[in-house]
């Protein structure tokens, strides 16, 4: 899905290329319960919900303004399998259904607690994290090392041509680390 199709405010949005790679890493299957934690504008949540394979998406976001954007994008794209959950993860997740897949776009420094909630609920959950800062990446690495877990880590850097008269200037976007964590046991299925 194209970035221009989404209703955007001043909330930062995952760019289309990083979104495509991140969702592809989740390997969504029919009927799955999916979370988008730190959903921002909801672009990842909406794109996940629109893949026919996905059962229900919970978009978790603590900023009021961003939640409003997600609701508007949900309406704009006529999505009906997407619930906006306003509040901070993991606290707000208490009592919610266990996930099959989780995308984490933002964690407000509570990555460890969010991981704990996820794998307590369902130890088989596949998780994809987008890290744009060195600290988030270090935080993921520290958790993996402490729990002796493995992950696939890729860094995606996109440059996009912008027209300047008759010329196309390549403009660099911010590199994003996409970390995919598949707890032991799940991989065996494939």
């Amino acid at each position: 899905m194209r970035d221009e199709e989404f209703i955007r405010g001043r909330v930062p949005m995952t760019k289309s290329e990083v979104r495509a790679v991140s969702i592809s890493k989740l390997e969504l299957a029919e009927g799955e319960i999916v979370y988008d934690i730190g959903a921002g504008t909801g672009s990842v949540a909406v794109e996940m919900a629109m893949t026919t394979r996905c059962g229900h998406v919970y978009a978790v976001e603590y900023k009021k303004e961003a939640c409003e954007l997600i609701r508007r994008n949900r309406e704009h794209f006529h999505v009906d399998n997407l619930t906006v959950v306003e509040g901070e993860a993991p606290g707000i997740l208490e009592g919610m259904p266990g996930p099959d897949k989780v995308f984490i776009g933002g964690s407000k420094g509570k990555l460890q607690e969010i991981f704990d909630w996820i794998w307590n609920k369902n130890p088989d959950t596949r998780v994809v994290i987008n890290a744009a800062t060195l600290e988030t990446l270090a935080s993921v690495s520290a958790y993996l090392q402490e729990h002796k877990m493995e992950a696939e880590i890729v860094c995606v850097q996109v440059a996009k041509a912008r027209k300047l008269g008759d010329y196309h200037l390549m403009e660099g976007q911010n590199p994003v680390y996409i970390v995919t964590i598949e707890p032991p046991g799940v991989g065996a299925v494939n």
Copy 2:
């Protein structure tokens, strides 16, 4: 889909991240006729065929060895809406059904003729090209300029962590230009 799941020979394969972005740019819809020209191992063709939205995929490839790989991958993934077309584009495409979407992974220096075939058959066809060489990129640009057509051009560069003892070394993959051409008229629908 993961690279390791595909049966590979010595044929170069589009990497999973570039595949995900490229397919996302095609915006495949239900029942569409899709071509993968220069299909190689067939990884893009198979992934397109497996998205439930896509009607039928024609994987066009002139190398015997690669065609055999595509057939094996088709079987491996239980795909039944994928036809292997052995031969060189655009010659081999004579008489085949008009495309809705085309992915071009290889063109053997016949990009201009392939473009001509595509838009003669269906002037609305959305085309996504992967260019790994400067000459392919220049060839696309020259065609666009000559025909006063616009395109979205992104360059995707991926680095992937490889375990070295307790360390993760980031290994650079080759950058790929992903060019998306949407003929005038189609865009108006959005």
Copy 3:
């Protein structure tokens, strides 16, 4: 040299990392006559002039405002082996001394004519070009192909950490193609 040390206006400046790689590719030697064509703020010209090995640098620039910046940077860094040449290349170069090395940061679409001037004056001149647009890159490639010349082509993409509270966000800069052309015969010296 750091970007912050230069006096900058609204003129785009070659970033320090790309400047370092580009100057390194020139392999400047003592007493050489060096040109910086499309000199902009003069950051490349000043850094070249300040390496003790370089004899004299001519900074060629057609924008009045940019020429003024180069003069101010020349003064700021106490450089005395740098001459500002106000006007358009290659016309303005008529009658000037033959170059040993040339850096081209901008060519106003006259790359072919500039190349012709350079190698007419001195067929051994080593040239380094920075191309930020696809068209400049294609123009260089076309010249090389036509004249059966070889070049080293690298693309340098830099991301730089920016502090956001306690976090470091990696910000992508524009990728720049750095093309190094060494006419046949020169390489034999090494």
Copy 4:
């Protein structure tokens, strides 16, 4: 300097573009005492020693085979202001002269101790680190955070054209984080 000019064994070598950026960040000045810790083939050490501005370079390396390569490169380039120090840092550094500038290309997991030695010897030392692994980067970050020090962090990703018949394939090299640490006080000079 070009990679091909160096005598190389199976020892990994800092690539020319990363070398140029790293040395540029050190801002070498005449007569300075410079260390290259984890010197590998000695390409950084030799290039630093050959800049006329630099006084003496100590290339510290614990692998016998690599030390031999550094000695051969020193001879090959007729460098006389370069000493090979065979052994592990920081232990081997005991009693050696205080540094003005230090480049760290490898640290065998002893980054913290090496930092301690450096800034104990000379609290004004400017240090540039090349990190190719996430763990080295995390280790640098942890030290900075603990000591409330600031650094400039850039990630340099280079792709280089390789000729394939008439085509130029862009080949991705590994991204390298270049971290520049300038202790408080030094910056005030500028």
